[in-house]
Symmetry: D4
Subunit: 254 residues, 8 copies
Amino acid sequence: MTIDEILRKVSTGEITPSAAKKQIQLNSIHEVQNIAKIDTGRSFRKGVPEIILAEGKSPDQVVKIAKNMFSTSGHVIISRTDKSHITAISKSFTKKYIRKNVLANTVVISNKKKQKVHGHVAIITAGTADIPVAEEAKVIVDEVGCKSTTYYDVGIAGIHRLFSSLSSVIQDDVDVIVAVAGREGAMPSIIAGMVDIPVIGVPTSIGYGYGDKGTAALMSMLQSCALGIATVNIDSGIAAGVLASIIVQKKSIK
Amino acid sequence: MTIDEILRKVSTGEITPSAAKKQIQLNSIHEVQNIAKIDTGRSFRKGVPEIILAEGKSPDQVVKIAKNMFSTSGHVIISRTDKSHITAISKSFTKKYIRKNVLANTVVISNKKKQKVHGHVAIITAGTADIPVAEEAKVIVDEVGCKSTTYYDVGIAGIHRLFSSLSSVIQDDVDVIVAVAGREGAMPSIIAGMVDIPVIGVPTSIGYGYGDKGTAALMSMLQSCALGIATVNIDSGIAAGVLASIIVQKKSIK
Amino acid sequence: MTIDEILRKVSTGEITPSAAKKQIQLNSIHEVQNIAKIDTGRSFRKGVPEIILAEGKSPDQVVKIAKNMFSTSGHVIISRTDKSHITAISKSFTKKYIRKNVLANTVVISNKKKQKVHGHVAIITAGTADIPVAEEAKVIVDEVGCKSTTYYDVGIAGIHRLFSSLSSVIQDDVDVIVAVAGREGAMPSIIAGMVDIPVIGVPTSIGYGYGDKGTAALMSMLQSCALGIATVNIDSGIAAGVLASIIVQKKSIK
Amino acid sequence: MTIDEILRKVSTGEITPSAAKKQIQLNSIHEVQNIAKIDTGRSFRKGVPEIILAEGKSPDQVVKIAKNMFSTSGHVIISRTDKSHITAISKSFTKKYIRKNVLANTVVISNKKKQKVHGHVAIITAGTADIPVAEEAKVIVDEVGCKSTTYYDVGIAGIHRLFSSLSSVIQDDVDVIVAVAGREGAMPSIIAGMVDIPVIGVPTSIGYGYGDKGTAALMSMLQSCALGIATVNIDSGIAAGVLASIIVQKKSIK
Amino acid sequence: MTIDEILRKVSTGEITPSAAKKQIQLNSIHEVQNIAKIDTGRSFRKGVPEIILAEGKSPDQVVKIAKNMFSTSGHVIISRTDKSHITAISKSFTKKYIRKNVLANTVVISNKKKQKVHGHVAIITAGTADIPVAEEAKVIVDEVGCKSTTYYDVGIAGIHRLFSSLSSVIQDDVDVIVAVAGREGAMPSIIAGMVDIPVIGVPTSIGYGYGDKGTAALMSMLQSCALGIATVNIDSGIAAGVLASIIVQKKSIK
Amino acid sequence: MTIDEILRKVSTGEITPSAAKKQIQLNSIHEVQNIAKIDTGRSFRKGVPEIILAEGKSPDQVVKIAKNMFSTSGHVIISRTDKSHITAISKSFTKKYIRKNVLANTVVISNKKKQKVHGHVAIITAGTADIPVAEEAKVIVDEVGCKSTTYYDVGIAGIHRLFSSLSSVIQDDVDVIVAVAGREGAMPSIIAGMVDIPVIGVPTSIGYGYGDKGTAALMSMLQSCALGIATVNIDSGIAAGVLASIIVQKKSIK
Amino acid sequence: MTIDEILRKVSTGEITPSAAKKQIQLNSIHEVQNIAKIDTGRSFRKGVPEIILAEGKSPDQVVKIAKNMFSTSGHVIISRTDKSHITAISKSFTKKYIRKNVLANTVVISNKKKQKVHGHVAIITAGTADIPVAEEAKVIVDEVGCKSTTYYDVGIAGIHRLFSSLSSVIQDDVDVIVAVAGREGAMPSIIAGMVDIPVIGVPTSIGYGYGDKGTAALMSMLQSCALGIATVNIDSGIAAGVLASIIVQKKSIK
Amino acid sequence: MTIDEILRKVSTGEITPSAAKKQIQLNSIHEVQNIAKIDTGRSFRKGVPEIILAEGKSPDQVVKIAKNMFSTSGHVIISRTDKSHITAISKSFTKKYIRKNVLANTVVISNKKKQKVHGHVAIITAGTADIPVAEEAKVIVDEVGCKSTTYYDVGIAGIHRLFSSLSSVIQDDVDVIVAVAGREGAMPSIIAGMVDIPVIGVPTSIGYGYGDKGTAALMSMLQSCALGIATVNIDSGIAAGVLASIIVQKKSIK
């Protein structure tokens, strides 16, 4: 029944306004439901596998969701896993499909062949403690089929390490930089002032006192005088990785 | 002694102003105390059983309070219990009166017969991690004698799950929706934009970084451009359940 | 083209995957666009007229949006107007269609006949300074066709004023209470502890020092030990009015 | 050397300005040091024993400080003790001098005879979880030699319990009320609206979500429309107890 | 009808449960309403005149409320007045009843004879900018009939000014100190460490940068290691004045 | 002098360590200064003209800085101008070089020929009040030589407007979406869930009460469950425009 | 009377304990008052003139305080003046004693001869809008008799300006750097990483959105990985100037 | 290739603009890389050993970094160590090179001979719980070769302890004071009001309720009316120690 038919029937008294209203609402919903049929996999549309945040879910819940997604797409990333999640996953999936990243606390389950590499993402951290967040981003970038190069701790031994890394970045025609930093979070600003490619700023919860839990770093990236920074939430390596992948794909597919 | 008598006696010197003042204050208090006599059970007036928050109380304290309330009303809900609370409760009440909900961490103690079901509340969560809060709401709704239908994880596999759920909600003539969501908490807004029944928004403390602990979700629900949302505090399934029950009862009793 | 056709054509090479992808995305969008046809008026679905927030918009912008909406629905509410908005509106609409509320800073434009009154909403404020927010709620409730009764300043002359108002509320079979309060915002809690109907708590930005701008009042309503409170955002008389209307309609239509 | 002598000597060149400056600074310090001689015990001046916050100190540190103070004043209160503190204290002081309060987590060490009771402080809590903070206040009040009466959980079974307690408070000529409450912290406001004696409001960290950790309760007490409330910091039973004692002493000594 | 009668009638079917419930609720309310009769004036119970916060109210509203209160009690204090309020008040009340305080922005309207002075309150400010808040407190204290002595700017010319003031305070047997300070708000702590009478700490919104708007001062007073401080909200001279009056009255009436 | 020479000279005593240290520091600085020579224009490296934030600067200061930059690069954007800035600029530059954008409060000064258009940026706002921020972004995008298409107010008349806009976005092969939204800021999340191109989320300071000043919108974008969002600071159309330009250039240059 | 005499007299009954207590307290105060005699001028002890914050004070109050201080020390700095303050000051002091700084909004009143210059302070700002705060610091440094060199806007045209300035700083043997920055406030960190002299970080309230009002800048300086930064409050040029002066004096006097 | 050569070659077509751009960017980077060669040790430039924050790093990571630094400079400080760090360090370095400080949780690894002592730093804490932070500062000061004197708990037994300490400080010609305080953090202000040397204020996270985690203390130091305070972040003994060392060195080297 179209909206016109419904309204006509109301006017002739064939159906009550109340029934008509209900019918109209159902119509809307049903049409939207058709979207479901084509949304068979976000990975189809976005090129990014499904991602499950294990934190706050029981091992059973994680496995159940992962199985469901894996059966559809054959490619699932599980982030922020603890030991109990990993044990449960290991028992539930064929070993050869499982790729663990201990630093990132992620598990990838995939029956896909390795894609041809396209695009290049540099991942830079200011300190050692920022590495787990950086590795989260790296896992996404790798699974999507981009090349990734990491430059860790470049803030630890003086600013020359950073410049040395940027030199490589430019020589290698990197497409996007993921810049991970805690404390005062100034590194992404300095990088963005030196390069002409997008810089994804990832504040980490490293730090203490006023501005701890990543607050100072997040503020620095948002307030930065240097332009060209795309900020994601504190400790969100996943969001950075996906954003980097989408920017890179854009370019490499064309 | 009425206020007039008291004042007259002061003017004639029968009592001192100080004694009069004390008498007047006692008068006020005593009259208010009469309220006590009719307030024998909030459940009589509100239709909702007494609820005890176990968190922050010792098992002994919880049992003592529960026994006291149970002897009066025969119907008590204990929320946010841990194992020690449950053990203590199990020892202190007849087994057949006890109904535990493991997901919600609640225990109901009741010697009431099941009420005839009236009204219908839909409880929808955005993610898996929101389920405990949703179940808290469901316990209340069930105990009050409403029908409840749950739609969990509707945000997890794309927006079509949500629309599919809303379709059922409208076909089933649901009276109120309890919408539970963490992270950016957008789901209640989307729902409120599609239906013409009250939507109770329950932010959960799921999330991380800037806006964590439910702050972003709470803000989203309060700032929502969609109208018709009744917000309760972060993680407060209890408050949502009671509010839903009161709205439903209103309608179903008349 | 259905999703099946598209996918078949890709498999046979009739269309490229890239073209297919684009087509699938367009399909989703087009189906959703059909919703537009039935969403001709939120007022049809919600029973609430369109509401325009004048604040932050130029008089020209407000008039343009209002005209557009009025031509469709014949019933528009404009909130948070200043003098320049009102002047512009007065020039642009037939005088007999305009209803101003000076206290609420709202203008209603309507060519509708007065609806038969159904349902009853009590609107209670703690202080004088809370009245503008309360009047915002009242405008909505009135336009939707509910009866409204106001009890203003009940906190100003001692708690007996509040109890006196609640007495009327119960005798009049009020369906919902809108309770408006600033400062420490305790009034909605006290009311919710005395009645068995939904209480919509509206914090106002009245107050100073720690907890000013409505923060203390909002927290009080969300943290309240008294259950049955539906909270809306600070100063949001509009949100309270719409929520009250939806709860009342539910009941009165059935 | 007085300041005049010093300045004269500088002018005559007997001492260098630099030496003079140092002398002047030492003069200031030395005079202030004389205060030390008369400040032999805060307890002499304030009537309140020395109080040691055990939290954040090692058992050894607590015992060392306590011994030092006890040797001077014979009367020490140790608050926020854990088991290791209590074990260490028990080993270090004569048993008959030790008074533990398990609810308040305090230990009193005293060789004083019980003072004649003077003054009367009522201590009221809204809920069970507020009792530890109330007991902290009670320990101080008791040690100072005031009478204390406790009314716990008066918020738990309806407002009549509160009025009933206030009735006793007035009949007993209580001098000060310590009102302890978490969540929305409305109880001190309600009390202050009913009595004409000072009400010391103690917010507790009981609560959850927006306004948790005592924030909502603290704001409520500071923002309260009811006048006559003296607020202390969240969970600070000690501060409340000392303030109550000082107010009471004032009156009872005269 | 008592609750017993009502319940009996329900059991015999004389009245419906619904009618009974309504009757019970009305009973509660009516009994509470009796309080109204004895609450003829907060000033009777508290000894403090009615206080109207002019801020946020129109001149008309202020005058209307003031007239109403004045007719009952003959003694009203209006705080935070601006010129328009003062003009309206001046037109509406007999000149001889009006007492303005320009520094405090208050207007007192009173037909009372000056009370015999009892009690003594010292009001101390750290700086010049704190004086308006201090004067608010002074107005209350004066109207209640206490003696007040002010020591302003004692922080401005070195710590000796403060000690000099405290010397007077002790010699004059002051009962309560109101200590008003902005910026880091340390003055009340220093005072509380030197005297054995209650110190009411009033943070002011003087300051800038981190901790501005009185936040640092409020925190300092609540966190103070010195005990015996009663804190009120930022800039709340009114609350400080009333609290001081109640503490003093207690003592002086006895 | 190289570092080796310096160190050798120190070892032979030709120069003191102190002089050597100074020399080493100067060396570092001088080498870095060479960067200056090649950094003659950020626009060369980034492809984005110099941008001057007029807010907080006097008209004289703005003109002076603008002249300096214009003489070097011939292309300057001045943002957040008020009338006094615009007057001063108009007097100081040849009229044909000036391009004002009244909605964005920007002035462009350029002697460049229009570049060939490359790349395509869609700029979408949720409401009317978000337009100034969106126009800021558009000015940048236009000046850089990208095509821009705007979809304003797509949130105002129901979700179908948004879908309709997204349909155009996909058909037009847009490269990046700038999504501007205030209040609860959900629009960028909904968009990011539907497209596979980067979405730059720009929170605006539109809103009120809890989560006002753009806080709720910023949190929503950072907390979003939808991945692929690059967030910039509140109201920062400039940052969004530059980021969009850099992402687009990347692609279109290759 | 010494404390010993007092205590002896109490023991013999010559004076009451109450009188003794009062005497002891007065003793303490009187001894402290002696400090007053030597504290004739903070400028004597600190080498820094008295500073009056005009903001929040009336012109009359400022003049009165200034006159009082000037008569004692002959050297007064008045900060944050507006036009009305300056007019009043100009009328009240001999013209030749007045030195205005329009950028810093300060007025110096001095009858001192110019001191011989000692020490050297570099004052560096990141942007134009930071200059007023920097000038505040400069006024102090100049009045104290240090040499000051300013490097303004070094952040505006690329990092080479900063390095160029640092080169001068090292060549000139500067003793202390005052580094003034708003927005993300990274400049002081970069400077502290390059030099071996103390860097005083002054965050300014320049910026917008998340981290505005100087919050981001303050956090950055406190969280900085670079060590050797002394932070003062937001916009506090005065505090920076005084701190710089004290550090420099230390060295130059010896 | 200089920038001129590059640009010339572009103009003659010898190289493409794209190649030129890349070359220019590499040029910048390479020049900056030369800094690396002279930045062989921050300790050379700053006189402060390398400092490793162990917190948030694994024992393996800490050892690896420490070894690397030690091989270069022979002098490393590791802060915020836990047992696992200390065990790993003990196994990896020659025992005689290791100096542990149990209170400060630091480990120093050094093969340097003890330097001749120069300069004098006083380290003062308000309470016992502030000692670990003070010891962190002391470790730095000691390793740099300054004399340090500690005055701990000076706030615990009355203000005379503080004055007594200050007396020593002045007699000993101390160069800098490190003042460590939690709670309301007033001590550094009081000290700065009494001395004419720089005072480094270190807020500690000691405290509870409103203003806990060092917030109140940090605000107090930044808002202080007393001038001459250099503030570092909460609990940052390291930052205080380095700042003190730099100020002292300045003076003692000259």
